[in-house]
């Protein structure tokens, strides 16, 4: 019985040492690979960061150019950004984070990159909201002017009652659309605020070295 115990202990000890060696070999190979992958990941992360910065700069420049144009053509009150924004191809997530190709980046690095992207998107949405508020304000001014025009022409009897009705209907519809836009702006403001808070609460665990 004593012998059996000793033999069992020796076998277990060797089995443990064997597993350790196999693990160490695996880690040795894995380490080299992981160092390579990490370096590649860092390079790619840098590249992606630079690309994002460049994109942001270009967007800023474009936005400034467009603002100047809009200011020049205030009378027309057109917003060319609307159509262009639709055509813009933006980077979209590929669904679940699980099993996603992270370009050789570690989960934490990838997460932080995505977090930065989300922050940029929030800023973009805030800019968008400000622009829409401007449209809303100008729209209300135009409705006010149209009302005044109708009132004047009615007093001068330049238009018939039917014409007045048609024009008032257009104004009513415009007012409806404007209040819809105002409602959506308020909703989006709330949403952006909440999203901002949620994003600031997302923390990534510290990387072990």
């Amino acid at each position: 019985m004593k012998h059996i115990k000793i033999i069992a202990s020796i076998v277990m000890f060797f089995a443990f040492i064997g597993t350790q060696q196999v693990m160490a070999q695996g880690q040795g190979k894995g380490k080299e690979k992981s160092v390579e992958v990490k370096q590649k990941g860092k390079e790619k992360a840098k590249q992606v960061k630079e690309e994002l910065e460049q994109e942001a700069k270009q967007k800023k420049e474009k936005a400034q150019g467009k603002k100047e144009k809009i200011e020049k053509s205030k009378d027309q009150d057109r917003d060319p950004k609307l159509k262009e924004k639709k055509d813009k191809k933006e980077y979209k997530g590929k669904g679940n984070a699980y099993g996603r190709d992270k370009n050789g980046m570690s989960g934490r690095e990838f997460g932080q990159m995505r977090s930065n992207e989300a922050k940029e998107k929030i800023e973009e949405q805030e800019r968008n909201i400000r622009e829409r508020e401007d449209i809303l304000r100008r729209g209300r001014e135009r409705v006010k002017k149209a009302n005044e025009r109708i009132k004047e022409s009615r007093e001068k009897k330049e238009i018939t009652d039917e014409e007045v009705k048609v024009k008032e209907e257009v104004i009513r519809k415009t007012n409806e659309r404007l209040s819809e836009l105002s409602k959506k702006i308020e909703e989006q403001k709330e949403k952006v605020k909440k999203d901002k808070e949620a994003l600031s609460k997302i923390l990534f665990p510290k990387e072990e070295k």
Binding site: L82, A97, R114, N128, K167, V192, P205
Partner: protein, 67 residues
């Protein structure tokens, strides 16, 4: 011999605990990434809705200018 065995088991348990912690961290990161994805999706949807409403207003304002 007994001490050696206890030591060996201790090391094994330590290794398994470290591995578990690493996995938990990975899971946290994945959950965080998924949250960020949903936030971005929300933002995109909001942007689309706002743009749609703004387009409608623009169209109506053009009609208003023509009267």
């Amino acid at each position: 011999m007994k001490k050696l065995l206890i030591l060996a088991f201790g090391i094994l348990i330590m290794i398994s605990c470290t591995d578990k912690k690493k996995k938990e961290d990975e899971k946290k990161v994945e959950t965080a990434i998924q949250k960020i994805d949903s936030i971005e999706k929300n933002l995109e949807e909001g942007m689309d809705k706002l743009n749609e409403a703004a387009e409608k207003v623009e169209e109506q304002l053009q009609k208003l200018d023509s009267i």
